[in-house]
Structures are given as C-alpha cells and as structure tokens.
C-alpha cells in the first residue's frame, strides 16, 4: 500500500533542510557583498551583486585550478582506497570466522579513539625521513584505510549478506576471493557508495595535515590554497567577503560531484540489501 506522507512530514523535512542550507546561503551572501559591507552591523540579508567580482579576485590571488586538481586526485584516490580495503576487511570481520576476530574488531574501534592532534609530529618525522613530504601521496597516505570505514562496512555487511548465500557459494566451490567478489561486493554496493562519498568529502576538507606535510612545496590542496586568502596586503584583518567567496568556490566542485553522483547514491540506498 502506497501511503504518501502527510504535510507534517514535508514541513519537518523542509525545516531541517532550510536549517542545513541557511549557513551556506549566508556564506554566499557575505561572499557577494563588498568588503566593508561584509563586516557591518546589521549584517546583509540578501545577496549583493559582487560575487563574480570577489570570485575573480580569488582566482587572481591563488592558483585555484591546480589546487582543485590536487584535491580531486587526493580525495578520489583516498576514497577508492578506503572503500576497497574497508570492504575487504569489513567483509572478513562480518562474515568470516577466524581466531581473534572479535578482539581485533574491538581493537579497530578503539583506534578511532586516538586523538589526532599529536600524531602529526611523529608522522611528519617519519614521512620526512622517508623522503615523502611535499607529495600528494603523502597527503593521501594516512587515508589509505580508516577504522571508521572498516567498522562501517562490517556493521553493514553483517546484516546485508545472508549467510546462506556465502555458504551456497562456498559449496559451489568458489574460492574465498571469488565469493567476496560475487556475493559480498554486490550486496555492499550502497554502503560502498556512501563510504566513498563520505571519505571523499572528509579528505577534501582536511586542512592541518596537508598544511604540515606540503609545507614549502608547490603542491597545494584547495584548503591550503584557500588559507592564503587570509593574507591581506600588509594587514592582519582578513577580507571577509573574499574569504567567503573563496569558501563558496571551494564548495561548488564538491556540490557538483554530489549532485552528479548523489542521485545514483541515493538510488543505491533504495535498492539496499534485504534482511532475510
């Protein structure tokens, strides 16, 4: 029976979406007014006409396109890597019985509790001694596989793959990897898509690690490039309008990706695996 949701559902969702979108809209407004107007009180509520002007100043000030390319490469590489390794590990924890499986899974979850702030220094030292600093690879390396990814895939696959299917495949003589490929991966697809998108976004917005490890080299990610916008000639006060315009410009590619893949993603969620 198809029951269309009532007005209340739409109203609640609309409120939630409005709340989600408002700060972005705000950022756009500030990015579209003049520098002086941006910091005045009362603040502007409607867009001024200066967005393109501010945006072109952003392009003048930073090497936007190469930073964008780097961000895309690094984020894409990390997303693919995380999805691949996390699905593999998640499948193993979820469906394969082996000694120490529970203890190791708990260990994986525990690793998520490590505060990242201090790890930067020993990591930097390690990377420098290995001659890896200043490369895109160095930025992506800590993101090769994440504990969150493993935990996420594991909990999804526990319910998403009926044990009978795996047994059936094994009985039919599939090797382990074949079973993984033909049974687990199709069932995991929606979760893989979500994890991929989440990882992509997280790596895209990371700042401190790229800053540290790319320091002094010409390689820049979008976030480290944007930071340069805070340098106002001879001054310490940043140009708020410029900063927000830059933020908007850095957000747009992600939005586009999101819109392009989002529908498939969400459709994937719709075709989610079924609990028996």
């Amino acid at each position: 029976m198809i029951r269309r949701p009532g007005a209340l559902v739409y109203a609640l969702l609309a409120a939630f979406v409005l709340g989600s979108a408002f700060p972005l809209y705000w950022s756009f407004i500030i990015g579209s007014v003049t520098r002086e107007r941006a910091t005045q009180n009362p603040p502007p509520l409607v867009p001024g006409g200066h967005f393109l002007e501010n945006a072109s100043r952003v392009f003048d000030r930073i090497d936007f396109w190469s930073a964008l390319a780097n961000s895309v490469i690094i984020s894409g590489f990390s997303a693919l890597s995380v999805v691949m390794f996390a699905t593999l590990a998640g499948y193993s924890f979820a469906k394969l019985r082996f000694r120490g499986s529970n203890a190791l899974m708990v260990f994986v979850v525990m690793t998520m509790a490590i505060p990242p702030q201090l790890a930067l220094i020993p990591l930097l030292k390690e990377f420098s001694n290995l001659g890896l600093t200043g490369t895109q690879f160095a930025v992506a390396l800590p993101w090769l596989v994440t504990a969150f990814g493993v935990f996420f895939m594991r909990q999804y696959l526990v319910d998403a793959i009926p044990d009978e299917l795996i047994d059936a495949a094994r009985v039919d003589g599939c090797s382990m990897i074949r079973t993984f490929w033909t049974v687990a991966v199709p069932a995991a697809r929606p979760a893989m898509a979500i994890l991929g998108l989440f990882t992509f976004m997280q790596v895209w917005t990371d700042f401190m690690w790229p800053l540290l490890v790319l320091q002094g080299s010409d390689v820049q990610t979008l976030q480290t490039a944007l930071d340069q916008l805070k340098i106002a000639p001879g001054q310490t006060l940043s140009d708020m309008a410029l900063l927000q315009a830059g933020t908007m410009l850095a957000t747009v590619p992600l939005l586009l990706l999101f819109i392009a893949t989002g529908r498939h993603l969400v459709a994937g969620i719709m075709q989610g695996a079924v609990k028996g």
Partner: protein
C-alpha cells in the same frame, strides 16, 4: 497487498537475491576433494589454505597502514609522556616518571576542559542521534522528489570545518551577530554566546550537529531501507499508528546500525576540536576567556604549545583523553545492550 513499485528494496525476504541487482553468477564445477587414493588434491589443499589465510589477509591492509600511521605515533607519544622535553629542544631530556600525568590531572584547566568536553558531547551527540533517526524515518517515506530531499541533508557536510566555524562564528557574534539580532527582534535579550558557558556549548554543539546530523541520518536511512515490508504490514494490521510502527518495528530492526551511529558519534563527540577552537576569536584560541568551552582535544593541542615540557605533557593528556573515550564508548555500548535485552 500490491507490490511497492518504486521501492524494490522492500522485498518479501525469501527472494532476497532476485530483489537486488541480479543473482550471483554460478561458478564452474570444482574438481574432486580427494584423489582416488584418498589423498587431498592440490586443489583441495589450496582451498583449505585459502580458507584459513584469507580472513587475515583481508584485514592485513588496514593493520599494516594503521601500524605506520596510528600505532607508531601513539606508542611514541606514550613513550614520550614519561620524559621531559624543553620547548623547542631538539631532543627529549631525562625521564620524569608519572610527573607529567600528575601535572595534567592537577591542572584546573584540565578539569574544566573535562567538564566542557562531556557537556558539549551530551549537547551534540544526544540530539544528533535522536534527530538523525527521526529525519531518517521522515526520509524513508514516499516523498515526491525523494532523491533531492535525501541529498539535501548532506549539504552541511560539504563545507569545511574551518569555513563552518567562520560562518557560525559571525552568526553567533556577541554583539553584531545575526542570531542575537533575531533574538532582539522577537524581544529576547542578547545572549553572550562567547561568554556564557552553557551558551557557548550550545553554539558549538549547533555547529557540530549542523554538520553531522545529515550524515548520520543517511547511514540510518540505509539501514531502514533494509527493513522488510512485511513487518510494517503486520504492525499496520494490528492497528499500530505510524509512530508506534516506528518505535516498535523500525528502531529495533536497525539496532546494529543505531549502535554504530551511537558509538561513532560518542567517539567523535569527545574529540571535538576545530569548531570550539575557531569559535574563540582570541588569538590564543584557548576556548573562552575562562576556558568556558575548551575541550580536551584543545587542551592537548594547547599544551603542546605551552611553556614547560609541552610535548610530553600534551602526550600525557592525549593518553588520558584516549582512555576516557574508550571508557565512554564502552559504557555506551554496554548500556545500550542492556536496554536492548530488556526490551527484547
């Protein structure tokens, strides 16, 4: 009942395979397990090895990367926490035993940070999980343009945390901020968002929730899609309202995922760093003039820049934070399991 045409995910259970994108391909027939003489064939031995080793091989990439990226720094930091290391010194000095830990535990700022962290965590993670569950349920209906609705909740995640802090910082400015303007407009007094402790927690929790609620909602939505339709139909036949169906069918069915969301948002909620740090416009970034909103992660970071033995003391604080997070996550896990057992 008629099939749900636009919701192929809701199948009838037994035809799981057909409801998905296609059946798994049937592999070739294997050879015999043993030779005529009773010895295990090469193929069989390979297969046994495959069975035993594969699980470990599959999890190896994670642990290998983790050993380099996560384990080594953690152990190194733990080791360092027992030494002294003068600021900007090239190497660490002599061993000081547990002194650094004692110093941290006796620091009134550490205690304030502890209270702040737990407070902000409660204000963020609890509403987050609740609202995410409700939003997921709302999205799990036959909306028109459901793809767009479902995507739009992830909008906040697109904005970098630093940019978020910039935006919300100006919205929550004490005198010239938009939120106070609105409050003034409806006759309420200005709130000292940067000065009042609870107010600052609320502002920061708002930032964090804004970013992560949609994220968690999508994860929960994915789990909700997998709940079989028959359960809802049975409940409807029994006369249960939508709300009751939600409480008694949906929520129990997404147990594992709910647990996952609670654990990850607990761990994340206790590690909050960027938002409160940038919320403080004072160049010290110390989380409020009276440390109203300094979290433990900020404490670790600021200690690493302090005057005496900065790095070892920060290392001690980092390990204490790590232990705290483990304890909280564990308590959460056991609590929820106990609740589930009671309701089952």
């Amino acid at each position: 009942m008629a099939q749900d045409h636009d919701l192929p995910g809701r199948g009838r259970g037994n035809n799981a395979v057909l409801d998905r994108g296609g059946p798994p391909r049937r592999p070739k027939k294997p050879g015999p397990a043993t030779t005529a003489g009773g010895h295990p064939t090469r193929r069989y031995r390979l297969s046994r090895w495959d069975l035993k080793a594969s699980p470990y091989l599959y999890i190896l990439p994670f642990f290998a990367v983790f050993a380099v990226i996560g384990l080594y720094p953690m152990l190194y930091i733990g080791y360092l926490s027992f030494f002294s290391w003068p600021r900007f010194g090239a190497e660490h000095g002599s061993s000081v035993g547990w002194e650094n830990y004692v110093h941290v535990l006796q620091d009134p700022v550490f205690r304030k940070a502890l209270v702040n962290t737990v407070g902000i965590f409660l204000l963020s993670s609890v509403p987050q999980v609740l609202v995410a569950t409700v939003v997921a349920a709302l999205l799990d209906t036959h909306l028109r343009g459901k793809s767009w609705w479902r995507m739009s909740v992830l909008l906040p995640f697109v904005v970098a945390p630093a940019a978020t802090a910039l935006i919300f910082g100006s919205l929550f400015a004490d005198k010239s901020g938009f939120v106070n303007d609105v409050l003034g407009g409806i006759g309420l007094p200005d709130v000292s968002w940067h000065g009042h402790r609870l107010a600052s927690w609320t502002a920061i929790a708002t930032m964090v929730n804004w970013r992560w609620t949609g994220y968690n909602a999508l994860i929960l939505l994915a789990a909700m899609r997998a709940v079989p339709g028959d359960l809802y139909e049975a409940a409807a036949i029994d006369g249960a309202s939508r709300v009751r169906q939600f409480l008694h069918v949906t929520v129990p069915s997404i147990r594992t995922t709910l647990m996952f969301v609670i654990i990850t948002s607990t761990i994340g909620g206790l590690q909050i760093f960027t938002e409160p740090r940038l919320f403080d416009t004072n160049l010290q970034h110390q989380g409020g003039a009276d440390y109203q909103y300094q979290t433990l992660a900020m404490y670790v970071f600021n200690t690493a820049n302090s005057a005496v033995d900065p790095y070892p003391r920060a290392a001690a604080a980092a390990w204490l934070l790590f232990v705290l997070i483990i304890i909280f996550a564990l308590v959460n896990f056991l609590l929820i399991r106990a609740l589930q057992r009671r309701s089952a």
